[in-house]
Amino acid sequence: MLRSALLLGLGRGPLGRGLSTHRGGSTLDWERKVSEIKKKIQSILPGGAWDPLYNTSYLPPEHADVVIVGGGVLGLSVAYWLKKLEKPRGAIRVLVVERDHTYSRASTVLSVGGIRQQFSVPENVQLSLFSVDFLRNINEYLAVVDDPPLDIQFNPSGYLLLASEKGAAIMENNVKVQRQEGAKVCLMSPEQLRNKFPWINTEGVALASYGMEQEGWFDPWCLLQGLRRKVQSMGVLFCQGEVTRFVSSSHHMETMSGEEVNLKRIHEVHVKIDQSLEYQPVECAIVINAAGAWSGQVAELAGIGKGPPGTLQGTKLPVELRKRYVYLWHCPQGPGLETPFVIDPSGTYFRREGLGQNYLGGCSPTEEEEPDPGNLEVDHDFFQDKVWPTLAQRVPAFESLKVRSAWAGYYDYNTFDQNGVVGPHPLVLNMYFATGFSGHGLQQAPAVGRAVAEMVLEGHFKTINLSSFLFSRFYLGEKVQERNII
């Protein structure tokens, strides 16, 4: 008995060991293979590592609490603040619908990345101050564990606005407002201007205002990517597709004055999947219209503006596509490292780009000369005829320059007063806007996202009061207009 048991034990011993070593060997082998395969996959993938950017083409979910139309900087900022301010964590399901994940036509990545506080509307100054604080602390706001910190490449070179004699008084008033809000802006006489920036021709300039701090330009692509990375880590869902339809219910109501109104509520968003005829309905409670230059069209899909003219129902979202050109030129004798973002009384602007005496700039065409926004082709004659003459007049060194490249992008142009539209629609009760910023949407995005999230979650603005940016101003005819200094 004992012997056989011993034998058995002995016999099992080596056998067991044999088996286990064998198994151990195979695991080792297998692990090595797996790691080889992993390496292979990693090397094949663009960027070398798994990149969430390329993994978002799956179908949208069947329902989400908040659907954000447009994944540009404004849409992502709203998503970020919704997740940041939600209580408890993970309470709301946010879906961002973006039709083009390469952002080939999105304004965000085609902008020139400027940020300034030199506005005349106090709300704009506040929005911009909040945003610059956000950008400065971007690695506190948008830090993702295990990912490298962001470098938004901020150039703190300031904005230099020039005013003619006619505009000088307005400029002085504007600077008063800016200083009251806490911006560090100083006024300069032509004499001081010549001393500081000898390359400027001060002819026709009566006064200049110059931002000493917190103004300049940064890399919009980096902000966009940082927001994407962060919101993804916070659990925001992405899908690639186009919002083509809203399914809504409506109630007829009568106002106190006896006027009949049609209150609407969106229940479903139809998302057309990229490159197919299929669409997927997404049930939702709230829709955020952050479709940038296309937000007017998205509003129309929800029936906004389809009513008798002059009524609230017939009031459109006045946001249109407006094509703007940006030119990049080289000028060996051009202004140096100290060059700020200069805006001429004529509206022509330029700034330095990098270290190699390259500059970029442009100007807005007059209302009559607005180019056809059907495509993003660049009109090079526009530079020759409109931009260059004013540039060379202001900075004589620019008389000899060479245009290196150019591109065009769309302003999300608000034809009513060129300012943002923020907050809910008075009739389509669950559609909120974050659009219409017409050329300053990038710099205000961090603050606007927060304002919209506050509106959605709390029902009112908390950090910055943006009541004057509500949709109802289009019906009431109350313009919030920047007082330009031209």
Partner: protein, 257 residues
């Protein structure tokens, strides 16, 4: 014992990652592989357990908070003793050195202690500050900017001094004559561009800035921008560079003359 080590593993260092000149705690740590394993385990846990993720998030935030805490202004001292003493106290607390007008350098000893004799120098302006290697950041500059007569400022190897900080130096324009930014890991040509405000500058050290993409060209452009200023660039200072420690032991001159 385990706690501080664990916290080092838990989060990637936010600011100091990949920079030279800062002796981050990770170098003292066990071999690289070990650390990686620890991190990937935590990453694994974080992917699966919400709590671990929240904890790591919190720790990341705490790192930042610690730096911010160090940069709080001493409001009481400022009210009681005025801006010069408050500024000096702030710098000394951070481990830097100060010199009041016509006086000797004051600097903390090895254990961070310093004599409070300078509290009586309320009316004497501070003319030189050596904050090399200190944790001073954008917010902490408030205390420095109150020193209106400051002539010399050394900010060598400061891990938290960045381009945003440089854009804040303009209030010192009329007094500041000497500025050293050598070895600051986060300063790039973008921040250097705003030094044109400092028209009184006679001497500027911008050597050994790893974030500057093109040091040679940048130096030339800075020289053009500040024609009355001697600019020390990368090549010039290579052989002369002193670590922040060596400097602080030499009380007479905080920078090679």
């Amino acid at each position: 014992m385990a706690a501080p080590r664990a916290s080092l593993h838990l989060v990637a260092r936010v600011w100091n990652g990949g920079t030279r000149g800062i002796r981050g705690p990770s170098r003292v740590l066990a071999p690289e592989g070990n650390q990686k394993e620890g991190r990937s385990l935590l990453r694994f846990l974080a992917d699966r357990f919400h709590d671990v993720e929240v904890l790591r998030d919190y720790l990341l935030r705490k790192q930042v908070m610690k730096v911010n805490q160090k940069n709080r202004p001493f409001i009481y001292i400022k009210q009681r003793y005025g801006p010069y003493v408050a500024g000096a106290y702030f710098i000394l607390k951070q481990g830097g050195a100060v010199r009041f007008q016509g006086k000797e350098w004051i600097r903390p000893n090895q254990r961070g202690h310093f004599s409070l004799d300078f509290l009586k120098l309320q009316a004497v302006p501070v003319e030189a500050v050596d904050a090399s290697g200190c944790a001073i950041n954008y917010q902490g500059l408030d205390s420095l900017l109150a020193l209106k007569e400051l002539q010399s400022l050394w900010l060598q190897h400061c891990p938290h001094v960045d381009d945003w900080c440089l854009s804040r130096l303009h209030p010192l324009a009329s007094s500041l004559q000497e500025l050293s930014l050598a070895g600051c890991p986060r300063i790039s040509e973008r921040g250097l561009a705003c030094l044109h405000h400092l028209w009184n500058l006679r001497r500027l050290d911008i050597s050994d800035l790893p974030a500057v993409s093109n040091p040679g060209l940048t130096r030339i452009l800075v020289e053009e921008m500040l024609p009355n200023c001697e600019v020390l660039g990368a090549d010039w200072a290579q052989g002369l560079k002193l670590g922040p420690e060596e400097q602080s032991r030499d009380p007479a001159s905080p920078m090679p003359a």
